[in-house]
């Protein structure tokens, strides 16, 4: 059985956690047993909590010499059988890009959390969502990963568990695109009695890098199981044999890596609609900005203005179908983002309605009043 239900590690009930703590507890609940990281604001609290909690639960914690070593050691551990995670922020995420590409190419399940801070470069340690396109296109080659966007402490916990399940199910790195504001946010969250976990699929002797279908997810063996594995980031056939001068092998491999995610968009992509049924204007948003947007929608609805909200819980693969659907029904789509315009381009690709961006990249969250004012002008 691929799926199993297990009891939560912490007793069920309410917890007053910061986002950074919720990430750590979500990882533990998901069975994460290898963590490697490097201190960086705003996720140092996760690193510190894991360093203590992993001792209690008997998992392996490594503080590495940099973010490159962190992600590479996670990949090595994953092939040794671990559920591995690293947590970082913008500058560290940039350093990890080559490793993310390696995990895509070798189909290695790992979870990477990026609590985004405002860049470019060191920038400030304050909030941003400037790394959304980087999550899709940051590593050379352009083959997709899965990227999630949590908006609350609860969702940082839930999405961390979800990220491990997606990583194992599709053998892909899963990126949790958190934000400084949610990592440092402290609020009440509920710990359920049980969590559902997806177990790594094994089939001794089977090809670890190929399936009969051209979009399949192969089973994944580990080192030490006598499989005599060949794992390489270079072009390889179904058994991992390097074929770096073979067009057919490269073509088939990249097509399968692309299709195994894109052909399963419908089962991967999650979103939440709010007052969309009769909306004249829709706010398409994600992460912390959705909190301000929801407040704005509530306020304007009280005034009788027909606004709704589509909150993207999954950023990549992109929720093209629902955006197209909403775009066909509303007059205008408003896209507030804490960057200079990233997801708005995707919305424009699929929505027939007029799409209006709102961009703020000053290290502050977009306040509800700002969104209220902008929506009033549009209505």
């Amino acid at each position: 059985m691929a799926w199993k239900k297990i009891k939560s590690v912490l007793p069920a009930g309410s917890y007053y956690f910061s986002g950074a703590e919720a990430i750590a507890e979500g990882a533990i609940a998901a069975g994460c047993d290898y963590y490697a990281g490097y201190p960086i604001t705003p996720t140092t609290e996760t690193l510190e909590r894991i360093s203590v909690r992993f001792k209690e639960v008997g998992a392996v914690f490594m503080q590495m010499e940099d973010e490159i070593a962190s992600i590479c050691s996670c990949i090595g551990a994953s092939w040794a059988g671990a559920k591995a995670m690293t947590v970082t922020s913008g500058p560290g995420f940039s350093l990890m890009q080559e490793g993310i590409g390696y995990a895509v190419m070798t189909e290695t399940p790992i979870v990477v959390v990026n609590a985004q801070r405002v860049g470019p470069s060191t920038g400030q340690i304050s909030v941003s969502s400037g790394d959304i396109m980087q999550a899709r296109w940051g590593s050379h080659g352009g083959i997709p990963t899965i990227a999630l966007s949590p908006w609350s402490v609860q969702e940082l916990y839930d999405q961390t568990i979800n990220a491990f399940n997606l990583a194992e199910k599709y053998r892909v790195p899963v990126l949790i695109m958190a934000e400084a504001a949610t990592a440092h946010l402290r609020e009440i969250m509920n710990m359920p009695e049980e969590v559902s976990l997806f177990d790594r699929q094994k089939k001794p002797g089977a090809a670890p890098f190929g399936t009969e279908e051209d979009d399949g997810v192969p089973p994944m063996p580990s080192f030490g199981e006598g499989e005599k594995l060949l794992v390489t980031g270079s072009t390889h056939d179904a058994y991992g044999v390097r074929k770096t001068a073979d067009a057919e092998t490269q073509g088939n491999l990249t097509a399968r890596l692309y299709n195994k995610i894109m052909n399963r968009k419908e089962e991967i992509v999650e979103y939440e609609g709010y007052y969309l049924e009769d909306a004249d204007i829709a706010v398409v948003c994600y992460g912390f900005t959705a909190r301000s947007s929801q407040f704005a929608v509530d306020r304007l609805r009280e005034e009788g203005i027909k606004v709704g909200m589509l909150r993207l819980k999954t950023l990549w693969p992109f929720a093209d179908k629902i955006v197209k659907d909403v775009g066909a029904r509303v007059r205008k789509i408003f896209v507030p983002e804490m960057n200079m315009g990233q997801i708005v381009g995707e919305v424009m690709k699929y929505a027939a309605a007029e799409v209006i961006p709102y961009n703020q990249m000053n290290g502050q969250v977009i306040y509800p009043n700002t969104i209220i004012e902008e929506l009033r002008r549009l209505s």
Binding site: I68, A80, G99, S222
Partner: protein, 254 residues
């Protein structure tokens, strides 16, 4: 007694090395050491980076192999070893990979004393990309990026790794077969971070550019630079300039 190293090679592979490449000799010596220790190769994990030496284990060795990103072999190996300590992990890669782009990981794995055996095939240049200067290229040597001679001194990798805290370091030329085999065996049997620098001449790239027209001449050139630890004792730094000291440099912290 001659060792049949073919039993450790993956069926169907053909060795990818240029004629006269030191890596081919080193491949044989590593397998000989494993054979003499009667180790079960199925319990081993071979991790390598990018470059000619990264191809020594992958795909040649009929065992678990992890062919990683350029420079990061030791970081990958650290993750695998820390998660599953039962794996006997050997890192085999080149000087450019382990010392230049990956130098930081080399230092920190030695400092943490991670239980790895790291074998660095030092061919004194970037062979796979056509022969450019690297941190181990001798002073004055010609490469594609130092046409007028390398202006920088080479790094002493064993000293560097010793200073970082390795429990065992050694350096031998690949033609010092018995010394190198016994050194690899010692490293495999020693717990903690062990580092062996195998000087592995590169006739095709390094030799050609330095007017060493045959593999034999390249090997002679490198052999002339080598001096044993015993012979080096008492020599002044000026006398040791341009020399490569061979031998064991630390052993179990003694």
């Amino acid at each position: 007694m001659a060792t049949d190293v073919k039993q450790y090679l993956r069926p169907g592979v053909s060795l990818p090395f240029c004629p006269g490449c030191g890596d081919r000799i080193l491949l044989r010596l590593i397998l000989k050491a494993i054979d003499e220790l009667e180790m079960n190769i199925d319990d081993m994990l071979f991790v390598s980076g990018i470059g000619c030496a990264g191809w020594i284990p992958s795909p040649q060795f009929n065992a678990d192999t992890l062919h990683t990103l350029h420079g990061r072999a030791i970081a990958f190996a650290t993750g695998a070893k820390m998660f599953n300590p039962k794996l006997n992990v050997m890192v085999i890669s080149g000087d450019g990979d382990l010392a230049d782009i990956g130098g930081n990981h080399l230092i920190h794995a030695a400092r943490r004393n991670i239980d790895l055996t790291v074998i660095c095939a030092n061919n004194m240049n970037y062979g796979m990309t056509g022969g450019q200067v690297c941190s181990t290229t001798p002073l004055g040597a010609v490469t594609h990026t130092t046409r007028g001679g390398n202006p920088y001194r080479p790094v002493d990798l064993c000293k560097l790794v010793n200073a970082a805290g390795a429990v065992y370091t050694a350096r031998y030329l690949v033609t010092q077969g018995s010394e190198l085999v016994s050194s690899i065996k010692k490293a495999l049997e020693t717990e903690g971070f062990c580092f062996i620098e195998a000087i592995s001449p590169c006739p095709t790239q390094f030799g050609r550019q330095n007017r060493l027209d045959t593999p034999r001449e390249t090997f002679k050139f490198v052999e002339r630079m080598c001096i044993t630890k015993e012979d080096a004792e008492g020599l002044s730094p000026a006398e040791l300039q341009g020399k490569i000291v061979t031998g064991e440099f630390s052993n179990g912290g003694s």
